[in-house]
């Protein structure tokens, strides 16, 4: 360390050597932590994102549990709805929220500017994933508390639930980043919201898939949201072990989505 704090002879305000080159990257762990924290803050500060990730899932859970709008089959409505709403929470954060945020980061040159910073790309993606996971944890805690207040009695192995949530996150992240990295920001905004709405209705989140015609069911059942809500329901409502079929569907979507995103994502 050299002392650089000598002031100019003329008593000028500036300290000589303020900008004397001393380059270097911060430690990786510190960069990733700071980036994840910033991205999470940006998300929680954004009203539209909160609407999507917190308010809509909460309202749907409360409304459909309290009022008998949809026939959710035997048992308490909340036992059917809570797993579906948890799947919706993952969809809203990993897919819709991430796609819209990343789309606008790309549009506003944030990704471009970060590409010239010491933060490597893989570290940026790691930070984004951490930010998504932190948001999901907050969502799961909030929705679980509300569901318990509504009389939810979950079953099953928590590890199976975690496995489903993680694979679901991977599948939706891949698809969300694929959209954000290939479409214009406005197109991503519109398409991500539309997909959110369609999957909300047709993915077994609040409407049981068996309400649809047989032919439609077999197709809808292959959607990542259906696999996630169905798998979560098998475990949490029916106490099933490891829902391999649903995990398999999610794994295929994750590989396809992340692979395509890695191949087609454009940073500018």
């Amino acid at each position: 360390m050299t002392a650089t704090g000598t002031t100019d002879g003329g008593g000028a305000a500036r300290t000589a050597g303020t900008f004397a080159p001393r380059p270097g990257a911060a430690p990786l762990s510190r960069m990733i932590r700071a980036q994840a924290l910033l991205e999470t803050k940006m998300l929680l500060r954004n009203g539209e994102q909160l609407l999507l990730t917190v308010i809509i899932p909460t309202l749907l859970l409360v409304l459909f549990s309290a009022v008998d709008i949809v026939d959710t089959g035997e048992g308490k409505a909340v036992d059917f709805l809570a797993p579906g709403i948890l799947a919706l929470a993952v969809l809203s954060t990993a897919f819709t929220g991430q796609a819209i945020a990343t789309g606008f980061e790309r549009r506003y040159g944030v990704l471009k500017r970060l590409a010239a910073s010491p933060l490597p790309r893989w570290a940026l993606m790691t930070a984004k994933t951490c930010s998504v996971l932190v948001t999901e944890i907050l969502q799961v805690v909030l929705l679980t508390v509300i569901a318990f207040a509504l009389g939810w009695s979950p079953h099953g192995n928590p590890l199976s639930v975690v496995l489903l949530l993680v694979l679901g996150t991977a599948a939706f992240s891949g698809l969300g980043l694929l959209m954000a990295g290939t479409l214009k920001a406005e197109a991503t905004l519109a398409a991500a919201n539309l997909v959110f709405l369609l999957l909300l209705v047709g993915g077994g989140v609040i409407v049981p898939l068996d309400k649809f015609p047989d032919a439609a069911q077999s197709v809808l059942g292959l959607l990542p949201i259906s696999a996630l809500s169905d798998g979560l329901r098998d475990v949490l409502q029916h106490g099933a072990g490891v829902p391999w079929a649903d995990l398999g569907i999610l794994a295929v979507w994750a590989v396809l989505g992340l692979g395509a995103a890695a191949k087609f994502f454009r940073w500018e």
């Binding site: 900008f19 910033l38 040159g109 944030v110 500017r113």
Partner: protein, 320 residues
């Protein structure tokens, strides 16, 4: 160890060049944006890349920053290949994009602190905010900052990591005079501290004020490079203008002037004398005026500016 920041010329020709570009070619589809460009930026210098819109300035700078791959030619930045050695190079350079680069919902100070946090030995954030006149808007969201404040935040982000080399892409576009001078002062300070700077600009006065070297780019090539003085020297002080009564007979004046001189009435009442403008010639013109009972008004020896050089070389106005 650091080089002394005192003294007038911190340029150290002994150091390897900060940027060395040879025969650079970049095409977008059928359009050739950069067409065999050579550029050398001495370590510790301020180099201005000057040119009209579409000349290839930004493409060249962005290739140096590692954003694009050249189609031909070699590029070395701090001795490294900007694409292949990106991981090693990135911490050592500072980049100011022409626009954007900040989360719309981030506060000014929050974003600068974050950028500082990606570096090992950043500049003090409070000091930098203060220096660039951003002290009062630290808590303002980026999208609510004025254009000039956004520019200065981007500049602060480029220098906060204490880089060896900064790339500033039109750093004062859209700034008011006060903010422009704050930016200029910062660039001078970078130079005094031994940082190499490459800046692109439309502004002649900016290049004249700041740059050790100016590279004039047009049609994807460097058409002239040198210090502002060198570039202006070619035609310096070879024109004298004055105004007087319209329709003066210039033949008598021409007879009195040295052989290689010329004189013309440009517009009624505006006269131009070209040749070697020395005190003797000035005296000849003045005595000729006296003989003709003309009071020469607005008599001026014209200094050749970078603006003139640019216009002569490219046939274009800088700002379109």
């Amino acid at each position: 160890m650091r080089s002394a920041s005192s003294g007038d010329t911190p340029r150290t020709p002994g150091r390897p060049p900060a940027v060395e570009v040879t025969g650079l070619v970049k095409r977008y589809g059928t359009k050739t944006a950069v067409d065999g460009l050579d550029l050398r930026v001495e370590a510790g210098s301020v180099t201005a890349v000057l040119g009209p819109n579409g000349a290839g300035k930004t493409t060249t700078v962005e290739i140096c920053e590692g954003y694009r791959r050249p189609d031909a030619g070699t590029v070395r930045v701090l001795g490294l290949d900007p694409v292949a050695d990106a991981a090693a190079l990135r911490p050592r350079i500072g980049v100011m994009l022409q626009s954007g680069g900040v989360y719309a919902g981030a506060r000014a100070e929050e974003m600068l602190r974050h950028t500082a946090g990606l570096h090992a030995h950043p500049v003090d954030v409070d000091l930098l905010m203060d220096r660039l006149g951003l002290g009062s808007c630290g808590r303002t969201h980026y999208r609510r900052l004025s254009g000039g404040q956004q520019q200065r935040l981007a500049l602060a982000m480029a220098v906060v990591g204490r880089p060896e080399l900064v790339f500033l892409d039109e750093p004062t576009a859209g700034l008011d005079p006060q903010a422009r001078h704050a930016t200029w002062d910062l660039v001078r300070e970078l130079r005094a501290d031994g940082v190499s700077t490459v800046l692109t600009t439309h502004f002649m006065d900016e290049a004249e004020q700041l740059a050790d070297d100016v590279a004039i780019i047009d049609g994807g090539r460097v058409i002239a490079q040198g210090s502002p003085e060198e570039l202006c020297k070619g035609g310096a002080e070879n024109t004298l203008r004055f105004t007087g009564r319209p329709g003066l007979d210039l033949n008598a004046l021409l007879k009195a002037l040295p052989a290689e001189s010329a004189a013309a009435e440009l517009t009624p009442g505006t006269y131009r004398v070209t040749g070697t403008i020395d005190p003797q010639l000035l005296a000849t013109v003045a005595s000729w005026c006296a003989q003709h009972g003309v009071l020469p008004d607005a008599i001026a020896v014209e200094r050749h500016t970078l603006e003139d050089v640019f216009l002569e070389l490219t046939g274009k106005e800088l700002r379109s």
